[in-house]
């Protein structure tokens, strides 16, 4: 699961508040422009570090929060096969969150700070997870569309300029493809089922389509940091480029199983070799970014509850480790 870098619309773009040593900055820019990787101990401009911490931690939070809407359905999966698959997928999302937290920590932030930022509402995560999962078909739609959008975003990030982030992305991309396929398989089965099942699949597509294409973030003209992030190879393609690619590959997948993408303006543009698509409701997107998504409160409550109810385990583990250390020291 992926989040593009999210900020409130009116937030100022990154400014060079810190005055950097011009010689070092120039050497850094040259390295990045030559597609060299930057590693944790290398010098980097403060704005680069900050942008990465924000983007990687938002990405990590999205993986962790992304476990919640799907976790809701583990006990209600329609059979043992689907249950085992969903469990494995949710476990993968947890793993992806951990790879990314570890990558962000190499930039000087700590796990505690990041978790605290998430739980206190200061940190953002992908808008997609603040929509509810109403039926089993939603689990299919999430795998197919949300993980599909994530793959579209993440594949180019395997070549992002920051080494630990790129390596985490390689690992994540290897695991992500199964997520999308299992979702599409759920949709395929429902679309070929009874009328009620087919309606359920279409309803899920109707509800998840627009939020999924919003996952790529605001349009390029409203994405003030894109140019700098592309120059620094933090991003490799713009939001609109990735969104277009996603739409172009996904529409035929819907058609193949007899479902209809809920966009009356969707038309194939022969000249561009791409689909033209209807206007996106960006007011809805910004409202969700501000925390007004339909289930934003429930998600954070569930997250904080899990963290607080796990406190005794963390304390017990720490006490156990301390006791053993003391015992070894005494021997």
């Amino acid at each position: 699961m992926y989040t593009t870098e999210l900020k409130d619309k009116n937030q100022a773009p990154q400014s060079a508040a810190v005055v950097e040593d011009p010689a070092r900055l120039e050497a850094f820019e040259a390295r990045v422009a030559a597609d060299d990787f930057i590693e944790p101990k290398d010098w980097m401009p403060e704005a680069y570090r900050k942008t990465l911490v924000r983007q990687i931690s938002q990405h990590a939070h999205s993986e962790i929060v992304g476990m919640l809407p799907e976790g809701n359905w583990i006990t209600r999966a329609p059979n043992l096969r689907r249950k085992a698959i969903l469990l494995a997928k949710v476990q993968d999302e947890g793993g992806h969150g951990l790879y990314l937290y570890a990558a962000a920590e190499t930039l000087g932030t700590s796990r505690e700070e990041m978790i605290d930022a998430l739980h206190s509402g200061r940190a953002k995560y992908s808008t997609i997870f603040n929509y509810p999962t109403l039926t089993w078909a939603d689990i299919g739609a999430i795998g197919w569309l949300v993980d599909g959008a994530a793959i579209m975003n993440q594949v180019p990030l395997q070549r992002t300029s920051y080494g630990p982030y790129a390596r985490a992305m390689v690992r994540i991309c290897k695991e992500e493809s199964f997520h999308q396929r299992q979702g599409y398989e759920i949709m395929t089965a429902l679309a070929a089922g009874t009328d009620a099942q087919k309606r359920m699949a279409q309803d899920a597509l109707n509800r998840w389509w627009w939020p999924s294409i919003m996952m790529f973030g605001p349009p390029d003209e409203n994405s003030p940091n894109t140019a700098q992030s592309i120059r620094w190879r933090i991003k490799r393609e713009t939001n609109d480029e990735l969104r277009q690619k996603f739409i172009d590959v996904t529409v035929p997948q819907a058609e193949a199983i007899g479902l209809t993408v809920p966009d009356p303006d969707l038309t194939w543009n022969e000249a561009r070799g791409s689909y033209d698509y209807g206007a996106i409701d960006w007011d809805e997107f910004y409202a969700v970014v501000r925390g007004e998504g339909p289930v934003a409160k429930e998600r954070m409550q569930a997250r904080v509850k899990a963290w607080e109810e796990g406190a005794w385990v963390r304390e017990a583990a720490a006490a156990h480790a301390a006791k053993h250390q003391a015992r070894e020291a005494a021997e």
């Binding site: 793993g95 951990l98 920590e105 505690e112 985490a168 695991e175 963390r314 480790a321």
Partner: protein, 94 residues
């Protein structure tokens, strides 16, 4: 909030005959827990047959600022590579 557990670096041997290779890191209270976390985090798809976990604090790393003095001297010693030497045509098995 409880204090962060220490960080451990995780190394995986993909199969016997290969060396352990760095995979990533985990936080854990102690070594046993670090191994368990490494297993769950990094080997969900048969990535390995053996794990090492090493306290990250125990790793001593070279400074990127010293990279030139450490590694550049090797750049002008091409005679350390077999392709540096000219062998008369027709000579074999060397």
């Amino acid at each position: 909030m409880t204090k962060n557990w220490p960080l451990w670096e995780v190394f995986i041997r993909a199969k016997n005959g290969l060396s352990h290779r760095h995979a990533g890191s985990v936080h854990a209270a102690d070594a046993k827990m670090a191994l368990e976390a490494a297993r769950d985090t990094y080997t969900r798809r048969m990535e390995g047959v053996s794990l090492w976990v090493v306290p990250s604090a125990a790793i001593v790393a070279s400074d990127p600022g010293d990279a030139a003095e450490l590694f550049e001297p090797a750049a002008d010693k091409v005679y350390r590579h077999p392709t540096f030497y000219v062998i008369p045509e027709g000579v074999k098995n060397i």
